[in-house]
């Protein structure tokens, strides 16, 4: 499987979840684990470009696929990805635990709807739980990210 553009060996144990494989075998700890039953969205990554729950996939299933994690959006030292930048500008994060999952979901949302309506924004982030922000700043961040993505 390729992760953030680099080839990695397969997981040894078939019951290893993709989320655990990314975090503990590959050291990509930006993907977080908040519930392990697919509700909270903290573990969201891109599978061949589309956001999915990495806690609901076995690592062996990702073999032959391209995975993008939060670490793959902007190279170290490079400017933030527009979605990351928008979350910063709009105070779209507090503790930062749900943030990588939200960012990956929003990347997927904007790929699907580059100019999302208010309803599409709500729908697009409604699969991710945040306990800190009350969501309003995240909504603003999605709108801002759409603007930044066009520049």
């Amino acid at each position: 499987m390729r992760v953030n553009g680099f080839a990695h060996p397969a997981a040894a144990d078939p019951r290893r979840l993709l989320s655990d494989h990314l975090r503990h075998d590959l050291g990509l700890t930006g993907t977080h684990v908040g519930c392990e039953h697919g509700v909270c969205g903290c573990c969201t990554v891109l599978l061949d470009g589309a956001p999915v729950r990495s806690c609901l996939m076995l690592a062996v299933q990702a073999e032959g696929h391209d995975i993008t994690t939060i670490e793959g959006l902007a190279a170290d030292g490079a400017p933030l990805h527009p979605v990351q930048q928008a979350f910063h500008e709009c105070h779209g994060l507090q503790c930062g635990f749900c943030t990588p999952g939200f960012v990956m979901s929003v990347v997927g949302l904007l790929a699907q709807h580059p100019n999302p309506t208010a309803e599409q924004v709500d729908e697009g982030i409604s699969g991710n739980l945040c306990r800190c922000t009350g969501y309003a700043p995240i909504r603003r961040a999605v709108v801002r990210a759409a603007e930044l993505s066009k520049k």
Binding site: P14, D20, P51, R53, L56, L58, G127
Partner: protein, 250 residues
């Protein structure tokens, strides 16, 4: 919350998958995994074998046949949601799939997986029933068609035999008018109660062990819904009346 041990199989063809299902004791089919993997993580499901069908090529088609649309086993719910063909031929299915969980779940979850999982509060089984569709099951013994009316047997129970793979679902074109209306606690949650209208046909979900057909003039006749934390039987009956009224007001 880590899955228990299991043996993992990733067949490359439908035939291989069927052969595995025929030969293995206590095997489970893994398609989108959006229902099965949480059950594994909670250790509520402990199959000895997982047969992952995601490596099977050419099993993700959505195509027109027999005046309706066929959705193969690996067609993701998001692909169905985005399908122009389905939007044209069966817009009821488009509307229904949008109510299934969230987009990120639909990117991985499959329509056929939802039908095989047969959660009584799930939208898609009720749509199949309301439209009078069917599924195609394959095994080493051959292929058979199971009508929606005969597919759903109980809470998460279907007429599929342990050695059968649900390879395709067929939805007739949706008639006009149609509607799907549900009441759930949060956006994307399973419904407390829901109704599907296809012209004069009415199917209910979330109010019986399986989706059921009902008479729109007296939709609660014979219903004995169960109660849970979010809805008593009385509340469910009340919602069925309210939702049916909404669906037929259109």
């Amino acid at each position: 919350m880590k899955p228990p041990r299991f043996e993992y199989h990733a067949p490359a063809t439908t035939d291989e998958a069927c052969a595995l299902l025929a030969s293995l004791e206590d095997a489970k089919v893994l398609a989108g995994g959006q229902s099965l993997v949480p059950l594994l993580n909670f250790r509520l499901a402990r199959p000895a074998h997982l047969v992952d069908i995601n490596r099977i090529g050419g099993l993700n088609r959505i195509y027109e046949r027999d005046g309706g649309v066929a959705v193969q086993a690996l067609a993701r719910q998001s692909a169905v949601e985005d399908s122009d063909l389905i939007a044209r031929a069966c817009p009821l299915l488009t509307a229904a799939v949008r109510l299934v969980a969230h987009r990120v779940i639909r990117n991985r979850g499959t329509v056929c997986g939802s039908l095989a999982h047969a959660d009584p509060a799930s939208e898609l089984p009720a749509v199949l029933l309301a439209l009078g569709g069917h599924v195609v099951a394959r095994s080493v013994r051959g292929e058979r068609v199971i009508d929606a009316g005969g597919l759903f047997q109980g809470v998460m129970e279907t007429a599929l035999a342990p050695d059968e793979l649900l390879v395709e679902a067929w939805f007739p074109a949706s008639p006009a008018p149609f509607a799907i209306v549900e009441e759930s606690r949060r956006h994307g949650d399973f419904a407390l109660a829901g109704v599907v209208r296809a012209a004069d046909r009415l199917a209910l979900f979330g109010v019986a062990p399986t989706p059921v057909l009902a008479d729109s003039r007296d939709p609660v006749r014979g219903l004995q819904p169960s109660g849970d934390l979010e809805a008593t039987p009385q509340f469910r009956l009340h919602l069925v009346r309210v939702l049916t009224e909404k669906a037929f007001a259109a």
